[in-house]
């Protein structure tokens, strides 16, 4: 229809013009702006949404990266066997056992290939038709030459030589195999990872165990004259003979030994020393025992099983040079020699034995287990805890 005809139709309909059009349109546009204004989330919700989105993105990226790493590991035919749960001793024992097992498995393979196509022994089954060799009993090693190289281990560690021997044997047996398998198993032994936190301290100076060291007695003058040169840098304990350290409250007479120890120390821990270091702190020679806690019966500070701390007991080795420097006295001993400051209250603790330590926190994880007159270390004998030095001191 032509525009002229449309105009004629419009005229013919005789529709009057609206009167309130302009007012309504202005009102409508204002309302439309309000209606179309984007509804924004509160700032907190918006921020939370962004954070969650970012976290999800990071997780996806990490997941993809890990997947890629695993894929690359198998593509390179290199499988790293890591055992972080067993101690070193146990690993060695297991390794020797594995050697024997592997050799027996190899023998079985040889027998199999000579005698028949398909044969099953106690430790090994070889199926050449499917081109799959499987060691199921001890090795737990599965090799599939047609697809991929898969090595499964169940906590048993083997050496490179053993694995290579097994692999070559498998080549001999799988005549129908077209794809050569080259499996390299790298055994990596990580340091033992302990459960628990490490609060041990790293000493600034250490001294070696010297059998030719000159003995130096705690608080006693090596020279008969005593005086300024008498005694060493080791605190002599002053006049406190009650078995109470600095800052400790004096026990009442009705206290038992156990009560006195609880009263005058911070924490009691059952622990096993695994390292002994001769060191010094502020010029005072100490034996630093790094111990692994097995239990924490009571105390102001709670330790978990597996936590490691450093317990200091005065005494130990020190070089004459350092001793003279710290103490200010002249010993008259050769400068390059060592002295051994004996703690008259105790013998040195044995490593890997469990002891009960009553320790005091001197600050910054510096725990001491001694007093000027007592060493607060006990060992278990016949169900009772006995002082490591004074056998008459028994904890009930």
């Amino acid at each position: 229809m032509k525009q002229k005809e449309i105009n004629a139709l419009r005229t013919a309909f005789s529709i009057p013009e609206p009167q309130n059009k302009r007012e309504f349109i202005n009102k409508y546009k204002a309302m439309e702006e309000i209606a179309e204004r984007p509804k924004r989330l509160p700032i907190i919700l918006s921020f939370a949404t962004m954070v969650i989105g970012a976290a999800v993105l990071i997780c996806v990226c990490i997941n993809l990266k890990m997947t890629g790493d695993i894929r690359n590991q198998f593509n390179n035919s290199s499988v790293i066997i890591e055992d972080t749960t067993k101690s070193a001793d146990k690993i060695e024992t297991t390794s020797s056992f594995r050697t024997e097992t592997t050799h027996s498995a190899v023998t079985s393979h040889t027998t199999t290939s000579v005698k028949s196509e398909e044969h099953t022994t106690e430790n090994t089954s070889v199926t050449e038709k499917t081109q799959i060799q499987t060691e199921t009993a001890d090795n737990h090693i599965t090799l599939n030459p047609t697809t991929a190289k898969t090595v499964q281990t169940t906590g048993i560690q083997t050496t490179n030589a053993e694995i290579k021997t097994t692999t070559s044997e498998q080549h001999e047996n799988s005549d129908a195999t077209t794809t050569q398998i080259k499996v390299t198993v790298t055994t990596t032994q990580k340091p033992i990872t302990e459960i628990g936190k490490d609060y041990t301290l790293t000493p600034t100076r250490t001294y070696a165990n010297d059998s030719n060291a000159y003995p130096w007695y705690d608080g006693k003058d090596q020279n008969a004259g005593g005086g300024a040169n008498g005694g060493g840098p080791v605190p002599d304990g002053g006049d406190d003979k009650n078995g109470i350290g600095n800052g400790a409250k004096p026990p009442t007479q009705s206290m038992t030994l156990k009560e006195m120890l609880i009263h005058s120390t911070d924490t009691a821990v059952r622990a096993v020393p695994y390292e002994k270091i001769y060191t010094e702190k502020d010029g005072v020679p100490y034996i630093q025992y790094n111990v692994k806690i097995t239990d924490s019966p009571f105390g102001n500070r709670y330790f978990r099983n597996g936590d490691r701390i450093s317990v200091f007991i005065k005494g130990g080795y020190m070089s004459v040079k350092d001793f003279e420097e710290f103490s200010g006295c002249i010993t008259g001993l050769p400068e390059n020699s060592n002295i051994y400051i004996e703690n008259s209250e105790m013998d040195e603790l044995e490593l890997n034995n469990e002891y009960l330590f009553f320790i005091t926190d001197e600050g910054n994880d510096f725990y001491t287990a001694y007093n000027d007159s007592l060493v607060y270390v006990f060992t278990e004998e016949n169900g009772k805890y006995v002082s490591v030095k004074s056998r008459y001191m028994v904890l009930e």
Binding site: M1, K2, K4, E5, I6, A8, L9, R10, T11, A12, F13, S14, I15, P16, P18, Q19, N20, K21, F24, I25, Y28, K29, M31, E32, A35
Partner: protein, 153 residues
């Protein structure tokens, strides 16, 4: 899609006026149509938008009819004087429009004055676009016949 209210206002008004035959009521319904449309979800298709507008307007006009069913609705507000004032060429057409039914007049208005697509008209009147085309063709022939010529003008 943003609604061009400047353009659509007149079209909806004409549609309402054709149904109601009262200027003020038609304008009220027109404005109510746009207010209802404002609360309606927005569509990105102009056809869908137009269909919604005409559907709302048609329903509102129907409601208005129900309210005024006891009231005599003048067939047309135009007096004889108005008719005399129109140009001669429109006079015949105007008379010819009188023989059409309400729906036929609405379809003609929608299609040629409001420029509503055939498919939208079909959706409004629940007809297929082919049926709408056939209906428009028959209406035009009826008008031509009434006017005694082959052309409307």
């Amino acid at each position: 899609m943003a609604l061009d209210i400047e353009d659509q206002y007149d079209k909806i008004y004409r549609y309402c006026y054709l149904k109601i035959r009262q200027r003020e009521t038609a304008e009220d319904i027109t404005q109510e149509t746009f207010l209802r449309f404002l609360e309606h979800p927005k569509y990105y298709s102009i056809d869908k938008t137009m269909q919604i507008l005409y559907t709302i307007a048609g329903n509102l006009c129907m409601d208005e009819f129900r309210k005024q069913k006891c009231v005599d609705i003048p067939e047309t507000q135009q007096s004889d004087e108005d008719i005399e004032e129109t140009v001669l060429s429109s006079f015949l057409l105007k008379n010819a429009l009188k023989i059409l039914t309400d729906t036929e007049r609405e379809i003609i208005l929608l299609r040629y004055i409001n420029d509503v697509p055939v498919n939208v008209i079909g959706n409004i009147y629940d007809m297929s676009r082919f049926a709408v085309n056939r209906r428009i063709k028959s209406i035009l022939e009826k008008l031509k016949k009434e006017m005694g010529g082959e052309r409307l003008i």
